[in-house]
Structures are given as structure tokens and as C-alpha cells.
């Protein structure tokens, strides 16, 4: 605190003297916990999908083809954005503001591409949501992962703002850590959804 004080002269700080901000590990754990909850949501939906599938005579319904190519493309996109996010985390920890901002922006942008891809997948299913349990579960899975991805992108963009506004760095790594960890766990959730919809079918 005293180093920050002297750096900014005697201007009034947002916090009263002696008060500290929330430690970074709290924000990190919060992001992790939220991500774990999202992962569990996807896992539970997948388990329901698998359970219904095991009892069904015909799954997917006759004549329905799963687009394996699109699924793989989206998963590769997910791996890409995960790499950018990991890069952002390490850049922020080392105080490299520009790299961190660039990496987070890239992660958010590619994340948007992933979200767009999930939306596209949803519009291309071609089955009515009520036509069969398969359709209902597919929409539920894609809808849930879509919401999680959207929340993750918002978090990444908030982290970009914090890094850009010099409110993140080695002394305040919390927000970036929370955003990145939530994002990484959401991408693991995507892998689960992908495996369920495209590998197991």
C-alpha cells in the first residue's frame, strides 16, 4: 500500500487508508468455483443424455446425421482460445500489460467465434425441439454451453478492460485469474458436450 501511496503522490485513493482490496486468491477461487459449477451442469446434462440414450430404441432419430466436421472444428477453436487465455494469465502475472491485453482480446474474439459456431450448430439441427428426446436434449446441451460461453466471453472482456486500465498486474492479478480460470473450465465443459453429442452420439 505504501508504495502505491508514494507513486500517486498525495492524491486521495478510492480506499480509506489501511484498507486493502480483496486478495487475488479469493477472486481466483471464485472463478474456479463458478467454472466448476458450469462444468457440473454440462456433465449432468450429458449424463441425462446418455441415460435417455441407453433406453431409447432409436437414437438419434432415423435419418438424422451428426455433423462430425463442425464439431471437430469447434473443438479446435476451443483449444485455440484456451491457449490464448493461458498466455494471458502468464503475461499478466509477469506484468506485461500489452501482451496480456492482446491475449485476452484474442481469447475473447475466438471465444465469440466458438459461441457463433455453437449457435450455428443449434440452427442446423433441423429437428423440432419437441420432436424427440434426442432433439430436446441436444438443444438443452447446446443452450447451456452457449450461456456459459457467453458469460465467459463477458468475463474475458471485463478482464481486458481491467488490464487496459492498469487495474490488473502482478499486484492485482485476481480479475484476470478469475476470468481465465472460469473460461478454461467452460472450455472443458464444451469438450464434455462435444464428446456427448459428437463422439458418443
Amino acid at each position: 500500500m505504501s508504495t502505491i501511496d508514494s507513486a500517486l503522490g498525495d492524491s486521495m485513493l478510492a480506499l480509506p487508508a489501511g484498507d486493502t482490496a480483496l486478495p487475488a486468491r479469493s477472486l481466483k477461487l471464485g472463478g474456479l468455483a463458478a467454472g466448476a459449477a458450469g462444468l457440473m451442469l454440462s456433465g449432468a446434462l450429458s449424463a441425462a443424455y446418455l441415460g435417455l440414450r441407453s433406453h431409447a430404441a432409436e437414437w438419434p432419430p432415423k435419418g438424422f446425421e451428426v455433423d462430425a466436421f463442425l464439431g471437430v472444428m469447434l473443438t479446435l477453436t476451443a483449444v485455440m482460445t484456451a491457449t490464448f487465455a493461458a498466455w494471458a494469465l502468464s503475461a499478466d502475472a509477469r506484468g506485461q500489460r500489452r501482451q496480456a491485453a492482446a491475449a485476452l482480446t484474442l481469447a475473447a474474439f475466438v471465444g465469440l467465434c466458438l459461441l457463433n459456431g455453437v449457435w450455428y450448430l443449434g440452427t442446423r439441427i433441423g429437428l423440432g425441439a419437441a420432436s424427440s428426446p434426442y432433439a430436446t436434449m441436444s438443444y438443452a446441451l447446446l443452450g447451456a454451453i452457449g450461456v456459459l460461453l457467453a458469460a465467459g466471453v463477458v468475463g474475458l472482456l471485463a478482464a481486458v478492460a481491467k488490464v487496459g486500465g492498469r487495474q490488473s498486474g502482478p499486484s492485482f492479478p485476481g480479475v484476470v485469474q478469475a476470468a481465465v480460470w472460469f473460461w478454461q473450465l467452460t472450455l472443458v465443459a464444451w469438450i464434455v458436450v462435444w464428446a456427448t453429442l459428437f463422439l458418443v452420439k
Binding site: A33, A37, A44, A48, S54, A130, Y139
Partner: protein, 538 residues
């Protein structure tokens, strides 16, 4: 340190965990009154055959279960946890105050939508009390979808709360409050929050599937295997939450017993492990297969889940032993704990009888669920209120009113559950308005009325405390010789909780005489204003 103004922010803006905690308790009891009255109306319906239509009865039944188990009890525990956890770990706030406050308001919003859906025509979903889904084909009504989205809001709020509490306990402890030495109430909350983080998303998954299916008029719940989806994600007795309702109460009982026995809890390490084990084992309730769907013993039909239910029984000797070996004093909290043990014992006894007798029917299940899973947490929550009222409201709740409430709540529940058990042995079903012996139904109705009377006393105490404000010059530790950091600050605590970082937590001495360990604190403020040992509680 002139940063905090003395004027309290308005209730809608305040993110102080103490205010949020009190609000949670208030809303929780408001929901409790609504659900309790619904239950009482059910009992009236049973006592006067022909007075209610089957669909009305089914709806009231669902309202009763949903409001109490989903809205009321979790909110009460949320309130106690929100208020006490930072105080017990030596922090001056929760980790995410705004998230915590948002959780409160989202819970209230969701609760409002849920209750509103019961008031609307066309509600088909009969809710979490059914082991098998019903009325889930064809298009859904607005009421159905409101029920689902309201329930979704409540689940999201609970998730936010779990994240906030978990992060607070793990990361904001004062330097020498070790995880392995956490006060038992906070330890129980930690276990509950951790398991909630895993189990609430599963419930959300079920609601999501239901919403997509109902909104588009699908037939997922007519397909084979859909029963499993419902059972594991929506049915109250198929989810870990059924055990999580009682888990914080076990922490309360430990705190009340050790505080009013004026000695540390007997076998504290074992209790810690047992609480953690119960939390983990509660996850095994998902392991139930389809054959057990109509089991009378739900939710304890799997071996693991039965273990989870037995663990509270192992704690009773610890509480009793603490009181026997300590220097106990009479306190209404002990009355509530005793009541919880009594009604839990009634449930356990009847499980034994049911094994021998055979052929018990639906009404037995009502008695078992009330006595084993729904009444004990209520009693234990009241124990917590009477014990920690000096902190929450800066007032002591009435001594006589406490004992009276404990007696009425326990006695009424024993009569009601007992009548249900006997009716069950006689073959009466549950969930319909025309069921079983009239005498037994009237007796159960009487029990319900007595229970409501006890509840009224509790509500009156809470309202009185809320409106009167703090007592003047209430000691930091009005009971005397209590252990825990919350008793080292004023009653109620100042906005910042602790002026300086608290030092060592009271270590658990091997013998009961070492109460001096409770004053082994480094902070100069504690030493300056150390209260004279207040003798007996009033």
C-alpha cells in the same frame, strides 16, 4: 479510521453481510409461514373429508413441500451462515458482498415467481415431491414455465451463495484460523457449500431439460429412462439437498452443546470428520436405482445414503457427553437440540419397526420425512437463533418463550408424525385428501396446529427483535465462557466486525478447566474490554 459513516445504508443498498444475513432469516421465516400454513390447510383437508378437491390437494401439497424445502429452510441457513461465518473466521466481510446480496434478491424474486405459479390456473408440474414425473406431456401452461424459471432463479441464487461462502471460508480466514480448526458451524457450512456446488448444477440441469421440453411441448418425460432424469435432478428426495438441509444444523448443535456445557465438544475431531463424511455421502443419494423409486425408505434406500442418515445419530453421544462432562447451564438452545434428537429418534425407531412390521403404506412416508428430514433442521435452526440472537439482533430472545417454542414444535411434530406413522401401519396412502382413519388424521391435524403455535412464538421473537433494535449494554458474551471469535466482539458487532486482526483462535484444551485458553488473544482491544465472566445465562 473514519472511513465508514455511521449512518446505515438503505436496506436495498446495503451489502454488509450482517444485514444480508438478517434479511435472509426474515425472508426465510416469511416463506416458512407461507409453507407452514399450506401444510396446515392440507391437514385440515384430511381432517374433514370431502372438503378439498384432489387437484387442489395435490397443488397445496406441492406448494407445501416446495416452499419449505426449497425456499424457507435454505434461506434460514443462508442467513445464519452469512451472518456468522465471517465473524467466526475473523474476517470483516464475505468475499463477494455484492454477489451475496444479489443472491438474496434473486432468491426472493425466484421464490415470488414460484409461489405465484401456484396461484395461477393450469399448473401441471406437481413439483419435487413426486418420485415420478406427472402431467408432463402436451403443451405447458404459463404457470408451469413460471414454476421452472422461478425454480431456476432460486437455484442460481443458491449457487452464488455457495461460491461466496466457500471462497470466504477458504481465503479470508484470519492468519491463525486453520481450516482444520474451524468452528464446527463454519465447518458444516463449508461442507454444505462444497457439496452444493456439485449438486445444485445437477438440479439446474433437470430444470433446463424440463424447460426446453415443456416450452416446446415435447414428450421427453414419456420416453423410457426419463424417470431417472426426474428422480435424480428434480425429486427432492433423490438429491443430496435432502441431507444438506440438516448438515448446518449439526454444526449448530455442536456449537450450542459446547457453549452451554462450557467445555469444548467431546470428540471434536471425530465430529469434524463425521460432518465431512456425511456431506460426501449425501452425494450417494444419486446412486439410487429405479427399483427404489417407490421405496418407503426414500431417501435412504441405498446403503451409502443410509450411512449418511446414520451419521447424525453418532453425534448425539458427543453432544450428550459434552453436556455430561461439562458444567451445563439451562438454555433454550439445548431444548431445541433435545427436541431435534427426540424427533430424529422417533424416525429412527420407526425405521426399525418398519423392518419388522412390513406393509406400511404412503402415510408412513409422510411421518418419516417430517420426523427425520424436515423438522430436525427447523428445530436446530431455532437453536441457532436463540444462541446467536445477541449477535444477529443485539438482543437475547426470551428464555421462557424459547423453552415453550421448543416444547410446542417438538411435541406437535411428535404427535403429527406419530399419527402419520400409525396411519401408515394401517395402510393409509399419502398425497390424497381422502386417506385413512379420521381419528388419526384429526390427531395429526392437532399436532400440526401445535407445531404452528410453536412456530408463531419463534416468528414473534424475530419480529420483536427486528423492530426493537439492540438491547443497551449487552455484553460481548452474554452467555459467558463461550468459545469462538464472534463472542469477542460487541453484541451486535460494529460494521467492521474486528478493529484489528484477531489472534489465535481458542485452542481445544484437553480438559474442561482450561477456559483461560478462551482469553488467549493478542488484540489489545479484547484485553482492554474483556468482559467479566457473566455467570448464568438469564
Amino acid at each position: 479510521m473514519a472511513d465508514q459513516s455511521d449512518t446505515q445504508p438503505s436496506v436495498l443498498e446495503d451489502t454488509d453481510h450482517k444485514r444480508i444475513g438478517r434479511l435472509y432469516v426474515l425472508f426465510g421465516f416469511a416463506f416458512l409461514v407461507v409453507g407452514g400454513l399450506a401444510g396446515f390447510l392440507l391437514r385440515l383437508g384430511l381432517a374433514q373429508p370431502g372438503s378439498s378437491r384432489p387437484d387442489e390437494y395435490a397443488r397445496s401439497f406441492s406448494l407445501h413441500v416446495t416452499v419449505l424445502a426449497v425456499l424457507a429452510l435454505p434461506a434460514i441457513w443462508a442467513g445464519l451462515a452469512t451472518y456468522l461465518v465471517p465473524l467466526q473466521i475473523g474476517a470483516n466481510r464475505v468475499a463477494f458482498p455484492r454477489l451475496h446480496a444479489a443472491s438474496l434478491w434473486v432468491h426472493v424474486a425466484g421464490g415470488g415467481l414460484l409461489i405465484a405459479s401456484y396461484g395461477m390456473e393450469g399448473l401441471g408440474i406437481l413439483g419435487p415431491s413426486l418420485p415420478v414425473p406427472a402431467n408432463l406431456t402436451g403443451p405447458a401452461s404459463t404457470a408451469d414455465e413460471l414454476w421452472l424459471t422461478g425454480g431456476g432463479l432460486v437455484a442460481i441464487a443458491a449457487l452464488g451463495l455457495a461460491i461466496s461462502l466457500l471462497t470466504t471460508i477458504v481465503t479470508l480466514r484470519a492468519p491463525e484460523v486453520r481450516l482444520a480448526r474451524l468452528p464446527l458451524f463454519t465447518w458444516a457450512i463449508l461442507a454444505t457449500a462444497a457439496v452444493s456446488l456439485i449438486s445444485i448444477p445437477v438440479h439446474l440441469a433437470g430444470l433446463t431439460i424440463l424447460y426446453v421440453d415443456r416450452h416446446f411441448g415435447g414428450d421427453l418425460f414419456g420416453a423410457a429412462g426419463s424417470d431417472d432424469v426426474w428422480r435424480h435432478t428434480v425429486w427432492l428426495l433423490g438429491r443430496p439437498e435432502i441431507f444438506l438441509l440438516t448438515l448446518p444444523g449439526l454444526g449448530v448443535a455442536a456449537a450450542v452443546a459446547s457453549s452451554h456445557a462450557r467445555r469444548p465438544l467431546l470428540g471434536e475431531e471425530g465430529i469434524r470428520g463425521a460432518l465431512a463424511a456425511a456431506a460426501v455421502l449425501s452425494l450417494s443419494v444419486w446412486a439410487g436405482g429405479s427399483a427404489a423409486a417407490s421405496s418407503m425408505f426414500a431417501p435412504t434406500f441405498s446403503a451409502f445414503a443410509a450411512l449418511a442418515a446414520l451419521i447424525p445419530l453418532t453425534m448425539v453421544p458427543a453432544w450428550a457427553g459434552t453436556l455430561a462432562l461439562g458444567r451445563p447451564r439451562l438454555h433454550p438452545g439445548l431444548g431445541f437440540v433435545a427436541g431435534a434428537v427426540a424427533i430424529g429418534g422417533l424416525a429412527a425407531l420407526n425405521v426399525g419397526v418398519a423392518f419388522l412390521v412390513d406393509g406400511e403404506a404412503g402415510a408412513w412416508s409422510t411421518g418419516y420425512l417430517h420426523a427425520g428430514f424436515f423438522v430436525p433442521p427447523l428445530l436446530l435452526a431455532c437453536a441457532g437463533l436463540w444462541h446467536w440472537a445477541p449477535k444477529l439482533w443485539g438482543r437475547r430472545f426470551g428464555n421462557a418463550s424459547g423453552w415453550m417454542a421448543a416444547l410446542l414444535l417438538t411435541g406437535g411434530s411428535v404427535v403429527q408424525s406419530g399419527a402419520s406413522f400409525i396411519a401408515g401401519y394401517q395402510g393409509a396412502p399419502n398425497r390424497t385428501a381422502e386417506a385413512g382413519s379420521l381419528v388419526l388424521n384429526r390427531l395429526a391435524g392437532l399436532g400440526a396446529a401445535v407445531t404452528l403455535l410453536g412456530l408463531a412464538i419463534v416468528v414473534v421473537e424475530i419480529v420483536r427483535a427486528t423492530m426493537s433494535g439492540p438491547e443497551r449494554a449487552l455484553a460481548d458474551d452474554p452467555w459467558g465462557e463461550s468459545q469462538g471469535l464472534e463472542w469477542t466482539v460487541s453484541s451486535p458487532p460494529s460494521r467492521r466486525n474486528f478493529e484489528t486482526v484477531p489472534g489465535a483462535t481458542p485452542a481445544a484444551p484437553p480438559d474442561a478447566d482450561a477456559t483461560s485458553a478462551a482469553t488467549d488473544l493478542e488484540s489489545p482491544i479484547e484485553q482492554a474490554s474483556e468482559p467479566e465472566p457473566v455467570g448464568a445465562a438469564t
